[in-house]
């Protein structure tokens, strides 16, 4: 696959990148997003698809940006963590998981954007996941701080929130 020009929508903004000027043909999407656009919430760790830290959403689906070439992403709509704000229900749930027995949904915070975006991908497809479905969806990610219990709790909170909002709208 050879492409001279790649068009992307990143966090709602359109970009056109030229091969040789903005990226090299072998460049990964994570490199472009971090180095060219300064989107450092795209975390890069293993660079081998093992940890999930570099997860972004491409057309609503979660993708490992360290394993995706820039040219493969042509024409897609990309959401990185920078495209969310504090009102986002998933972000809110990650922040507000701190109750007795919950722990927290992050410690060092390095893995967190990847988990938040993976949760979005899950809830996009399945707004009301079971415990097992949450675990299955998020098990491609490593959190070395081990906040799995907190993260699981946060995902449930986010799902409850989204479901109750949707339910609320229907009732109106």
């Amino acid at each position: 696959m050879k492409k001279d020009k790649v068009r992307l929508t990143v966090n709602g903004r359109s970009y056109e990148f030229l091969s040789g000027r903005d990226f090299e043909p072998g460049d990964t999407l994570s490199k472009l997003l971090r180095e060219r656009l300064g989107l450092t919430g795209v975390r890069v760790s293993c660079e081998q698809g093992a940890c999930g830290a570099c997860t972004i959403l491409m057309d609503g689906k979660s993708v490992l940006s360290c394993m995706t070439l820039v040219i493969e992403a042509d024409g897609s709509e990309i959401l990185t963590i920078e495209g969310l704000n504090g009102k986002d229900p998933v972000v809110d749930a990650f922040v507000n998981t701190y109750g007795p027995g919950e722990g927290t949904a992050m410690q060092c915070g390095f893995c967190t954007p990847g988990f938040v975006l993976e949760t979005h991908a899950l809830l996009n497809e399945n707004p009301n996941p079971s415990d097992e479905e949450i675990t299955e969806a998020l098990s491609g990610h490593i959190c070395r701080c081990g906040c799995y219990h907190g993260i699981h709790t946060a995902v449930k909170k986010a799902a409850d929130h989204i479901c109750s909002c949707e339910g609320g709208e229907q009732n109106e």
Binding site: G101, C108, H141, I142, C143
Partner: protein
């Protein structure tokens, strides 16, 4: 089944400290706004930046006899090449990686034992992965890597040695001839040690004579697991004309500054080191600075550009938890008492020393006081051996994880011999000489009692090992326990010296604090903010009014403090409490001048200064500041720990496992983690440590295992696909419970929780496996192979005995 309520209850009610609330940086972390080294040093931010690559030895033991770097130097994009025969590098002499820790001292003076076993870019490789030979700085990481490949090297292969028992042999190849020309044994830091006897108390020979039983164990832990953090070690260094600028994710900027100063001769005020958030630590920075800092610095000097060095995933497997073996003989009585331990502790420190000696000497000695105080007779011989394995380093829970694995099983054996319940045996033999009521340590007793309740010990524990019912025809369950002390109270942190904090009260009553520490996830920043708000109640300050800055900068900020364990959480809280008193005094002094009163005549409440004799005569602090000079009030405070012993509290880990007797797998079904920390600084953060620590704790026991090709000594699975860390799918149900029973020194009197969050996990899993199937595993990790071998042995014995 619903979980029991384990909501933490404070001994002394507080508004912010010790409560359940979000981390102060939770939102920034969830939104990806927190920045790590690679984020603040993007190439766009540091124009002209080059990338450093250092050769990793492909051989476990080999020497460079000839090296041609001309092709690498000629490669377009390469700006500097530095070689092992470089006169400037060679003139630097030797260096150490042996736990420079938080005891910052210049090169010449030691507060702890340091071993000068490293050089910058050696010509001899001591493990397969050793950073040696040659380093380059180039325009892209790819060019740098290519340049290293173009270096033509003629090697002389040397015989390697990997295991302790081989390293001891008289004809073994010597790994560090300069440290000890005749043997692979690391000499003791203390010259007065004779015959490797490092500690003795009481009369162990007499204890052995008096014993009803002598229990012998041989336990090994380590050499198989690593830190596994998602952010890797690195730095960017710009050596300009009269100044060195450094950005790093090392956990202590001031320590890095001292290291670079020592090896460049640049004055401390001309070495500016900045660090910030760190993508977890897990102990990796405790061993001090890597040689890559100095190599990067000299490359920058030569190239006249900033140079970045970052480890990759393979290189991040730079150390393992030190491999330690403990052979212990315990003299015991029929009534369940241990009279004495006669122990031989050994360490395989691999190619370099990284705290391994600690695990066989200092920490073992400490252990006898910290947890085995009732055991009066002790003898300890210790040995540390060099080999050509990956270096042993400090991994979270240093030494204590290994020791807990080794000592806890003795109590199980004694329980089996005497028929006395294991928890009772632990109560009799463990504890320190603090918090004692009638021979029972109250902290230890509480954690055991609570943990047993949470896991349902009396009901679920098999009365005889392996005596439980068979589930689905092939699975068996068991329950086990491990106990250990919590770590790091005031006394254990004396080497920090003075630590500084500051409070800046702005005219609008908002506050900026400095409590500089690299936030690794341990949450010292949150605790500092909560402690500040707690102690500024007289100003009605809330945590939201306080800004904590994530940057440590040796030029602009106060001196930072290493976030080992979670001690920063309580040390900075203690300092904040004292700083708040100073702030109050300063407000009173200034307002008194304005009101034409003496400060003693005034007090502050609800952000008003009032006259004690006439409370109606009052001035709002904010009004005063805005309407006089608008100058913020700035308080600096330096504190030193209380140099008194108050003992340490305890933790207990209870585990229920299910063992598949056909394929040998072990699943942790349930866990209760109970820690007495004296005073909780942040309940949510502390419980997060109790929960999260189990990911590493269980991982090391059941899934994480480094594999080697012993033909070449090469690590085979040094990457995050093949080195299996726990994910959400593997994480069991864990119930955390925090307790405040013990009381330390200072205003709050706390002990750490982060490092001590899984010190008993391994021992508890091993004990639960034993309870489930009667198999005792001596060597970590617990693998299906070892389980099946153990079961086969039991069947063989049963067959012999005609059962």
């Amino acid at each position: 089944m619903s979980k029991p309520d384990t909501t933490f209850i404070q001994r002394e009610g507080k508004n912010y400290l010790g409560t359940y609330r979000p981390k102060i940086d939770a939102k920034d972390k969830a939104l990806g706004k927190v920045q790590y080294l690679d984020d603040i040093t993007l190439k766009g931010k540091l124009p002209g930046m080059l990338y450093c690559k250092i050769l990793n030895s492909p051989y476990a033991h080999a020497k460079i006899v000839k090296m041609d770097t001309s092709k690498a130097e000629a490669l377009p994009g390469v700006h500097a090449v530095i070689r092992c025969d470089d006169p400037e590098l060679r003139a630097l002499g030797r260096t150490t990686h042996a736990w420079t820790d938080i005891a910052i001292t210049p090169k010449e003076s030691d507060t702890i034992d340091r071993f000068w076993d490293r050089v910058f870019l050696p010509s001899r490789a001591l493990w397969a992965g050793d950073q040696m030979g040659v380093a380059v700085a180039a325009e892209t990481p790819e060019i740098a890597e290519e340049a290293i490949k173009l270096v033509d090297i003629k090697w002389e292969m040397l015989p390697p040695v990997y295991e302790m028992d081989d390293a001891k042999k008289p004809d073994a190849p010597i790994v560090h001839t300069e440290m000890n020309p005749n043997s692979n044994q690391l000499k003791h830091g203390d010259d007065s040690v004779v015959d490797d006897l490092v500690f003795e108390r009481g009369d162990i020979d007499k204890a052995m004579e008096d014993a009803d039983y002598i229990i012998e164990v041989e336990k090994t832990f380590g050499g198989t697991s690593t830190h596994g953090t998602l952010e890797y070690r690195g730095c960017v260094i710009q050596w300009g004309e009269d100044k060195i600028d450094v950005w790093t994710n090392h956990y202590m900027a001031d320590q890095t500054r001292m290291f670079i100063h020592d090896y460049t001769g640049v004055p401390l005020n001309r070495v500016r080191v900045r660090n910030g958030n760190s993508g977890a630590h897990m102990g990796k920075w405790n061993t001090g600075e890597d040689t890559f800092y100095i190599i990067t610095a000299y490359l920058s000097k030569r190239a006249g550009r900033p140079v970045k060095y970052m480890m990759n995933n393979h290189e991040e497997f730079h150390e393992t938890r030190s491999e330690n073996r403990y052979k212990i003989k315990a003299a015991c009585t029929k009534d369940g008492r241990v009279l004495g331990f006669d122990a031989i502790a050994e360490g395989n420190t691999g190619a370099y020393v990284g705290g391994c000696d600690h695990n066989v000497e200092f920490i073992v000695q400490e252990t006898f006081d910290r947890i085995y105080y009732p055991i009066k007779n002790v003898r300890l011989h210790a040995y540390t051996w060099f080999t050509n394995k990956i270096p042993g380093g400090v991994v979270r829970g240093i030494g204590n994880v290994q020791l807990s694995w080794a000592f806890n099983p003795i109590f199980q054996r004694l329980s089996d011999l005497t028929g006395i319940d294991l928890l009772e045996i632990i109560r009799i033999n463990c504890g320190n000489n603090f918090n004692q009521i009638g021979g029972l340590n109250t902290s230890l007793d509480r954690v055991l009692t609570e943990g047993a309740r949470l896991i349902d010990w009396d009901k679920k524990r098999n009365k005889t090992p392996g005596g439980g019912e068979l589930i689905d025809g092939y699975k068996k369950r068991g329950v086990g326990v491990g106990v250990w002390n919590q770590w790091h109270a005031e006394l254990n942190e004396l080497t920090r010296g003075y630590y500084e904090v500051s409070i800046r009260l702005n005219p609008d009553m908002s506050i900026i604090i400095q409590a500089p520490t690299s936030e690794t996830g341990a949450g010292g920043n949150s605790a500092a903010v909560f402690a500040c708000a707690e102690n500024l109640a007289f100003l009605n300050t809330k945590p939201e009014d306080i800004l904590w800055t994530p940057l440590c900068d040796t030029e602009l900020t106060l001196r930072d403090n290493a976030p080992t364990d979670s001690v920063i959480s309580f040390l900075y809280a203690e300092a904040m409490a004292e700083a708040a008193v100073k702030l109050k005094a300063e407000i009173l002094r200034r307002v008194a001048e304005y009101m034409e009163k003496e400060p003693e005549e005034l007090d502050i409440e609800n952000a008003y200064v009032f006259e004690k004799a006439d409370p109606e005569n009052r001035i709002e602090v904010g009004w005063f500041m805005l309407h006089t000079d608008c100058v913020p009030i700035h308080i600096h405070h330096a504190r030193h720990n209380v140099n008194e012993n108050a003992g340490l509290p305890y933790g207990a880990w209870f585990v229920e496992v299910e063992v598949d007797t056909e394929i040998g797998t072990v699943e942790v079904l349930d866990m209760a983690v109970v820690n007495d920390v004296g005073c909780v600084m942040h309940a949510s953060g502390a419980e997060s440590q109790q929960l999260g620590g189990q990911a590493l704790g269980i991982g090391e026991i059941l899934t994480e295992e480094m594999q080697y090709d012993w033909e070449t000594g090469t690590p085979l699975n040094n990457n995050y696909i093949d080195y299996k860390m726990l994910t959400m799918a593997d994480f069991p149900s864990v119930t955390p419970l925090l307790i405040e029973e013990w009381q330390g020194l200072g205003r709050y009197g706390a002990a750490g929780i982060a490092e001590g969050s899984f010190c008993g996990t391994g021992a508890a899993i091993a004990n639960a496996v034993y309870n489930a199937i009667g198999v005792e595993i001596d060597k970590q990790p617990i693998t299906p192979k070892k389980i099946l071998a153990g079961l086969a042995k039991i069947r063989e014995n049963d067959r012999k005995e005609g059962k």
